[in-house]
Symmetry: C2
Subunit: 431 residues, 2 copies
C-alpha cells in the first residue's frame, strides 16, 4: 500500500516516515461501534463520571479568578515546578524517589513516548517491545522508522530469556538496540503484571547490555490486590526512563503526563518538548496541581480502583460462565484490560464485523503487533461500561464466537478479511 492516495498531489513530497502514516480499515468499523446500542469492550476510556465534577468546576473557576494571568500565560518548557514536586508524592506510591528537576511534564504521557523516541532513535534502530504491545507506542516507534522487534510474554509479562535472545539476534544482525519498552503493571493489552523478581531480571539485562529501559506506567496505581507494584525505576535512576500519567487517576481530557529521566536525558527531553509544543498548558497543569493540593486524591484513586475491580469481576465471571471451550483469557489484577485467545482456527479481525453486527465491539489482536500477528487474540476492556453492560457484551461475544466455531467446523477457516499494511491503528479513544 502506498503512502497516500493517487489523487494526493503531495504524495511525492512526504518524508519517508510518513509512509507508515496510514489509517487502518478497522477505523470505519469503530465509527459504527460507537452507536449506543453497541456494547463497546473496545475503548480504553477511563470512567470520568466517577470524578467529583463540582469540585473540579470550583477548582478551575478559582484558579482563573485568582491566578488567571499565570494560568492563561506561557509557562516553562519543563513544566510547573509545584506540579513536579507533587508528582514526586504521586510516584512515592510506586517506590520512586527523585528530584523535581528530573521530571518533564508533557501533554499526556503519549507525548513523553514521542519525545524519548525522538531523542534516542534514528531510523533502523531497534526498539524491543512486548508481544503484544500498546498501540500508541507502536505508532510512535513506527513514525520514527524504528525497527520494532516483539519479545514474547508469559503470565508474568516480558520473558527475560526471550529479551536476551532478541538483543543478541539484533546485534548479530548489525543493528543498534536503543530501547526496551515495557508496561510492567496491568499491561495494555495483555492484562498481566511483572512480579518483583521478573522486574529485577529485566532491569539486570538492561544494565548488563547498556540498553535504555522505557517503563510506561499509566495504570500502576489501579491495582485491585495489595499495594501498587514497585516501579522498576525505583531500583535504578540511571538505566530507566519512567512515564507517568494523570489520565487514569484524574482525567484524560486534561492531557497531563510526565517523564522521569537521568540528568542528561532530561535536558534533551526539555529541548525536544520546547520544539514540539513550546510548553505544556498551564491551564491543565494548574488544575491538576490544585486538585492534588486540595482534594483527597488518594481516596479518589481508591474509588476508581473499586469501580474497575467490580467491572473486572463482572467480565471474568461472565467469561467463565459463557465462553465456549478452547477460549482462554488473562486475569488482570489491575488496569483496564483482559487479553482473550480464540479457539483454534478463529480470526479476531475477520470476526469483528460480525461482532459489531451482534452489537458488541472489541479490538482485534492485530492492532497490538507490527508484524501481522494477533489474529488469534483480541483485547477486552472493562473500564467504561457498567457491570450489567459488560455482562451483556460478553454474552453477545460468546454467541458470536460460538457461531464462528460452527461456521469453521462446517466450512473450514478460510474466511479472512483482506489485510491492510498490518498497522491496525485505532483512533485515540480506543487506545
Amino acid at each position: 500500500m502506498s503512502g497516500g492516495s493517487r489523487l494526493d498531489p503531495w504524495v511525492d513530497s512526504y518524508a519517508a516516515r510518513a509512509r507508515g502514516m496510514t489509517a487502518s480499515e478497522i477505523r470505519a468499523l469503530f465509527a459504527v461501534a460507537s452507536r449506543p446500542e453497541v456494547v463497546s469492550l473496545a475503548g480504553g476510556m477511563p470512567y470520568v463520571q466517577a470524578l467529583p465534577l463540582d469540585i473540579l468546576a470550583e477548582t478551575a473557576s478559582r484558579l482563573i479568578r485568582e491566578r488567571g494571568t499565570q494560568v492563561l500565560q506561557y509557562g516553562s518548557g519543563q513544566g510547573d515546578v509545584t506540579l513536579r514536586e507533587q508528582i514526586l508524592d504521586v510516584m512515592s506510591e510506586v517506590g520512586i524517589t527523585a528530584h523535581p528537576d528530573d521530571i518533564v511534564v508533557t501533554t499526556g504521557s503519549q507525548m513523553a513516548l514521542d519525545l524519548v523516541t525522538r531523542v534516542f532513535c534514528d531510523p533502523g534502530d531497534v526498539v524491543l517491545v512486548e508481544a503484544p504491545s500498546y498501540v500508541g507506542a507502536l505508532g510512535v516507534f513506527r513514525s520514527y522508522e524504528c525497527d520494532i522487534v516483539h519479545v514474547a510474554m508469559d503470565a508474568e509479562g516480558l520473558v527475560p530469556s526471550a529479551l536476551d535472545a532478541a538483543i543478541i539476534a539484533a546485534r548479530a544482525d548489525g543493528k543498534r538496540v536503543k530501547m526496551i519498552y515495557t508496561i510492567p503493571s496491568f499491561h495494555n493489552p495483555a492484562g498481566v503484571t511483572q512480579g518483583p523478581q521478573r522486574r529485577q531480571d529485566i532491569l539486570a539485562i538492561a544494565q548488563r547490555e547498556g540498553v535504555l529501559l522505557l517503563e510506561d506506567d499509566p495504570y500502576g496505581l489501579l491495582g485491585f490486590e495489595g499495594p501498587p507494584p514497585r516501579a522498576i525505576r525505583a531500583d535504578d535512576d540511571q538505566q530507566v526512563v519512567y512515564l507517568g500519567s494523570f489520565s487514569k487517576t484524574i482525567a484524560s481530557g486534561l492531557r497531563v503526563g510526565w517523564a522521569v529521566a537521568p540528568h542528561g536525558v532530561r535536558e534533551k527531553l526539555v529541548l525536544a518538548a520546547e520544539s514540539a509544543v513550546l510548553c505544556p498548558s498551564n491551564y491543565a497543569q494548574f488544575t491538576v496541581s490544585d486538585y492534588l493540593a486540595t482534594q483527597p486524591w488518594r481516596e479518589q484513586v481508591k474509588v476508581f480502583r473499586e469501580l474497575y475491580r467490580e467491572r473486572r469481576d463482572a467480565m471474568l465471571e461472565t467469561l467463565d460462565q459463557l465462553m465456549p471451550a478452547g477460549t482462554t483469557w488473562t486475569h488482570p489484577q489491575g488496569g483496564f484490560y483482559s487479553w482473550l485467545t480464540l479457539p483454534e482456527g478463529l480470526d479476531s479481525k475477520a470476526m469483528l464485523p460480525r461482532a459489531i453486527a451482534a452489537l458488541v465491539a472489541y479490538v482485534p489482536g492485530t492492532g497490538f503487533y507490527v508484524d501481522g500477528q494477533g489474529r488469534a487474540h483480541l483485547r477486552l476492556s472493562y473500564c467504561y461500561p457498567d457491570p450489567d453492560r459488560i455482562r451483556e457484551g460478553v454474552r453477545r461475544l460468546a454467541g458470536v464466537i460460538e457461531s464462528e466455531l460452527e461456521l469453521a467446523q462446517t466450512f473450514g477457516t478460510g474466511h479472512v478479511l483482506r489485510d491492510g499494511d498490518g498497522s491496525d491503528n485505532p483512533a485515540p479513544n480506543v487506545l
Copy 2:
C-alpha cells in the same frame, strides 16, 4: 560542541537529531533578566491581563459542571468538530474559506509546525525561511535535521527574487526543496508585513516550483491599521498549509492552535498528531469553544489591538527620541515586535550582558538565524510591559548602545562573546 556532557552515560545512544538539541548560553542571561527590576523587551508573552478573567472562570466552571464527562475525557485526534467550525469563523477575518474537515486542532500552533515538518521533511531536505525567522520554527526544522536556508527580506518581507534564486541554488546542489516557511503578517522578529502583491508573487513561485507554502499567522488579527491582511491561503487551498493560534487572541496558556491543510496532507497530520499526543485537550478546546460561542471575541481582539498599538507607539516614539545616530528599526503595523539594527561595528550578543546589567533585556539577532548571522540586530518586544516601562526600557537601551559606541570608538570592535553552536534558542517565554 558535542551533543551532551562528557558525564552523560547516554551520550553515545542519542539519535543524530539530538545533536542539535543544546541549550544556548543566553538562557542563563534570561534567567537573570526575569528579575522584576529588569525591563524585559525580550519576551513574546501576550498581555493576558487584559482578558475578562471572571467570564473565563465562569466558562470553565460551567463547562465542567454541565459537560464534565466529555470535557475531562479523551477526544478526537483531529480536534472537536464544533471548535473546528468556529475556527472557520475566525479565519473568515483573513479571507479564508474552508471545511471543518480541513482543520487539525493542535497543542498550540508550535505543534502544528512540528507535525507539518514531520510529515514532509527527511534529513537534508531544504526548508526556505526568512532571514531572520521565528526561533521556534528554526528549532523544529533543526530537530528534523532539515537543511535550513535563509532568504533575504526587505521592508515588505520575503523577497521573491531571492526566493527564486534560493530554490534554483538548492536544486542545482541536488537538494530537495520541501517547504517555504513564511510569516506574512507582522513578522516575528522582523516586524514587517507582506503587501497583497508581494503575497501573490510568493504564492506564484510556490505554485510554479511545486513547493509547499507554510503560512504561519499567529498575529494576523492584531493589525493596527485597517482590516487584517488577507491570508495567502485565501487564494490557494492546495498549495498552502496555514497555521493559526489562539495564543495571542485569547490565551497562550490554553495551548490551542490549528492547521488548515489540503485533504491528503490533513489525513497525514491527524495520524501524526495521534502519534504525538493522542488528542488535543478537550478541557482547553471546550474552553476556547465556549468562549467563542458566548463572548464578543471580536471586541476582545479589538481591546488587544488598541493595547498593543499604544505600546508600539510608546516604543517607536522613544526610539525616535533617544537612539543614537546609525541605529535603525522597523515600524510594525501590528503584532509584537520591532527589529533593530545597531550602528556599524556593534554586536547585539556581546552587548546583552551589559544591557542586563543596565536593567533592560532584548533578544540578540543571532537567535533568529541558524548560520551565525544576526549580531548587528536585536528584537524588541512591546507586547508585555506597559507604555511607561517600555519608554524606560528603551531609554536604558539607548544608554547602553551609546556606551558601546564610545567603547568601540576608543578600543575598536573586538570585544565579542565566545560563540556556541549558533543556535541561540531562548526559553519558550521569550519566543
